[in-house]
């Protein structure tokens, strides 16, 4: 199948590991991935914050970019984000209609009809749940509100995860509860958002998982920010006496990974933190700087 990838603005600029994983996964499954250059953003942030007029050029760009899927140039559009898929499916045509762009609204509807969130594409369109992934870690899954309630992806992501070799899945208590992100809600109502996040972080850390996964990097950015802060607080609050007993043992933060990253991970090319290289510029060397696995592989070639 020829599948066009909408990387999402956040995926492109901040979390390339998610769209990279989608490319690797789909190519491994024998499909052709296309990344249309004109793509930028679906417009969700503008629409959900009330800036529908400002959303129009953003939405138009998305619809023009992915319009060819409606003419059969590609078989489907895949989006590694439940909330962006939700916006494409339930908001884009409305925004264009209101702007008096009836013809483009019809194209938007046609594009949306062939646009799928990753787990929908895999399970419903490609008909696979077993993708040959290997991920030997303890993982908990947060369903994310828009995947769960706006798209209704149901247990598709969990079916994909259960088929991953050597994965250990831990149930997340009150999983269906919102993490408190809500786009600009996290800024406009930051205290309420933080209270929701604190409860979610408590549930996640309580599972003893090394990884928290979800189908949306916007929620994962929020959750990861909370988990990282929680772990750093834990470290700084440890009594000095304990530190003195030996080399500092750090409280590792529960890592956030996109569902696609787990599904892209194999024995031959396992997941590594290097796929999200975030070493600060100020540090010339650090533990996250390079991965031995990556170097070894390079040398072997």
């Amino acid at each position: 199948m020829r599948i066009a990838l909408a990387a999402t603005c956040l995926g492109d600029a901040m979390f390339p590991q998610a769209p990279i994983a989608v490319v690797r996964l789909l190519e491994r499954l024998g499909h052709t991935v296309v990344v249309p250059e004109r793509q930028a953003c679906c417009g969700q942030m503008h629409v959900n914050t009330g800036y529908q007029r400002e959303a129009v050029p953003v939405v138009r760009n998305h619809v023009r970019t992915f319009g060819p899927v409606a003419d059969g140039e590609w078989d489907a559009v895949v989006v590694p984000s439940g909330s962006c898929t939700g916006s494409i499916r339930h908001q884009q045509a409305m925004v264009l209609d209101r702007a008096g762009l009836a013809a483009e609204a019809r194209t938007a509807t046609a594009v949306a009809a062939r646009t799928y969130e990753l787990s929908e594409l895999l399970v419903d369109v490609l008909g696979v749940t077993e993708v040959g992934a290997w991920f030997p870690h303890r993982v908990t899954y947060h369903p994310t509100c828009h995947s769960l309630r706006m798209l209704g992806v149901g247990d598709r992501p969990l079916r994909l995860l259960r088929a991953v070799e050597d994965i250990e899945l831990a149930d997340l208590p009150e999983a269906a509860g919102c993490c408190g992100f809500g786009g600009t809600f996290a800024l406009k109502n930051s205290d309420t958002s933080a209270a929701m996040l604190a409860d979610k972080v408590r549930h996640v850390t309580g599972t003893g998982a090394e990884f928290l996964t979800a189908g949306d990097y916007s929620c994962l950015m929020h959750l990861g920010g909370g988990l990282s802060r929680h772990a750093r607080r834990g470290r700084s609050e440890r009594p000095a006496a304990q530190e003195a007993t030996g080399p500092a043992r750090t409280t590792p933060a529960v890592r956030t990974v996109h569902l696609a990253e787990i599904l892209a991970s194999t024995r031959e090319q396992p997941w590594s933190p290097g796929s999200a290289d975030r070493t600060p510029m100020s540090e010339s060397s650090g533990t996250m700087r390079s991965t031995p696995a990556g170097n070894a592989k390079g040398a072997a070639r």
Binding site: A13, M14, Y51, S290, R301
Partner: protein, 510 residues
């Protein structure tokens, strides 16, 4: 309370109520500020967390028992849509049928008019005391305060509403107005303000209920006038209905000589048989009960049975404005079950008082600004998580209405100017692949903000709201787009039979 000031002994501070506002639909500070205040109250968080999780579980259980629940929701939604389409003719049909059965119908454009009508009717009945059935419509118009100004004392007879009234407080939930109180607080409220509470009262729920029962029994037997709201009014027959759990409502509806019902005009249903749908949807959604305990219905007056005088006050108070709005009008479908409050993650954390309206929670966030027609920050008091829409028995798409109300805030210029500028810039940047690529590359400059561990822990300006409780990862060294370009070159190389050593596929650090 978490404040460490010296405002008196703890028992006095425990039940500090929300003072009576001048306007029951608009009071208190902004939502973010009020939410911050409420989030600081640990007792409130515990009370709310316990109460909402209990009722959520009860609802989920009894809804799960109904095989045709989704069909019932569709029916409820369709019936309400039909009512909104035919509202004028149905209201006139109701008026004809109530009048034909000996009732008197009054029309009130707004709160002041409705309050004047009720006060006048009470004065005509020659009394200065009324008993009240729990009612959101009379909360919305501030009836008790308006009556008090005319020298008429209203006694709330719903147990939770009585607690709120005795504490000189405001309700914080549509169905469970005292949800923010625990039994220890209720005991103190009764001892201090009920007047006839037994001095050895404990906080055992049965004892608290018995104290209220004795207190209210005296009121029921002496009151000449009762005031109620209505859950449903059947246009076809002129029948009114009140749905309650305690039987105190039925006392009010049957014992006094005069009954005055204040009802929002949207509470209509076309036919008597339509009650079948709503009397299944409402109890399971609101209290998590299979069947409602006390469902009272009355049609006009019946000599020798119940009140000899019945007045129906039909209240607009902004509803026709809501009706005129194609997107927002479905807020009028609401049957006040409060399932949306109980599942809302925002309501669960901040409680009802943060919303500054007698209609809190998700339904309040769409109903309040529409009823008042004024700018409000309530449409932003949601993450759009969709839990409310999922449980709504009449399928009100609350998230979509919130998004629409946000657009109206922006169009009317009520949203912040800083936001407008930022959104315009973002719109330009995000509507073109080339511009976005350049912006994303520039974003990498943000890497200099990174501290140890590869995260940003402190941002200036509006970003400070984020980093107050969350870290932010550093932008990556390479955007996806740049990785993809390298990946494509690599694939082209493979296809051309190029077997030179290649760098890593780009996902590895460089």
């Amino acid at each position: 309370m978490t404040t460490g000031n010296n405002a008196g002994p703890p028992s006095n501070r425990t039940f500090l109520g929300m003072p009576q506002p001048a306007d029951p639909l608009r009071w208190g500070p902004s939502f973010p500020d009020a939410a911050r205040r409420e989030l600081g109250n640990d007792q409130l968080r515990r009370n709310l967390g316990h109460a909402t999780s209990t009722i959520r579980a009860k609802r989920a259980k009894v809804v799960g028992e109904v095989p045709d629940w989704e069909a019932l929701r569709d029916a409820g939604s369709a019936l309400k849509a039909q009512v909104m389409d035919r509202l004028p003719e149905l209201l006139e049909e109701l008026e004809r049928n109530v009048t034909a059965r000996g009732g008197v119908v009054h029309w009130a454009r707004d709160a002041a008019e409705a309050n004047r009508i009720v006060a006048g009717l009470v004065q005509e009945a020659g009394t200065d005391e009324v008993v009240k059935v729990k009612s959101m419509a009379t909360q919305e118009i501030g009836l008790n305060e308006a009556l008090e100004a005319e020298g008429i004392h209203a006694t709330e007879t719903d147990l939770a509403e009585l607690i709120v009234q005795l504490a000189d407080d405001m309700p914080s939930h549509i169905l469970v107005p005292a949800i923010h109180r625990n039994r220890a607080e209720i005991r103190e409220i009764f001892l201090d303000n009920m007047g006839d509470a037994p001095p050895d009262l404990t906080d055992v729920p049965r004892e608290l209920a018995m104290a209220a029962r004795a207190h209210l029994r005296r009121k029921f037997l002496s009151a000449k006038v009762a005031v109620s709201g209505a859950n449903f009014a059947v246009a076809e027959t002129g029948t009114l209905s009140v749905v309650e759990s305690e039987g105190n409502g039925r006392m009010c509806l049957t014992l006094p000589e005069t009954l005055i019902t204040v009802m929002g005009i949207e509470k209509l249903i076309p036919r008597f048989t339509d009650l079948e749908v709503f009397l299944q949807l409402l109890p399971r959604s609101s209290t998590g009960e299979r069947m409602n305990p006390y469902t009272s219905m009355w049609t006009g007056v019946t000599p020798g049975d119940g009140p000899s005088e019945f007045h129906l006050v039909l209240l607009d108070n902004g509803r026709t404005r809501v009706l005129a709005d194609e997107v927002g009008r479905s807020a009028l479908h609401c049957i006040r079950c409060s399932a949306c409050l109980n599942v809302c993650p925002v309501y669960e954390r901040v409680g009802g008082h943060a919303y500054g309206s007698v209609y809190p929670g998700p339904i309040g966030a769409i109903l309040t600004p529409q009823l008042t027609g004024e700018s409000s920050d309530l449409p932003y008091a949601s993450t759009l998580c969709g839990a409310c829409y999922e449980v709504c028995p009449v399928k009100i798409d609350i998230p979509s209405i919130l998004v629409d109300l946000r657009a109206r805030e922006v169009e009317s210029g009520s949203a912040g100017r800083g936001w407008g500028a930022a959104m315009k810039t973002a719109s330009t940047m995000m509507s073109d692949g080339g511009r976005f690529r350049r912006a994303a590359r520039l974003g990498r400059a943000g890497r200099i903000l990174g501290g140890r561990g590869g995260v940003i822990s402190r941002l200036p300006g509006p970003g400070a709201a984020w980093t107050a409780s969350r870290d932010l990862p550093l932008p990556p060294k390479r955007t996806f787009r740049d990785w993809w370009a390298a990946h494509e070159r690599e694939k082209t190389g493979e296809r051309a039979g190029d077997d030179r050593p290649r760098p890593g596929d780009g996902a590895e650090p460089r």
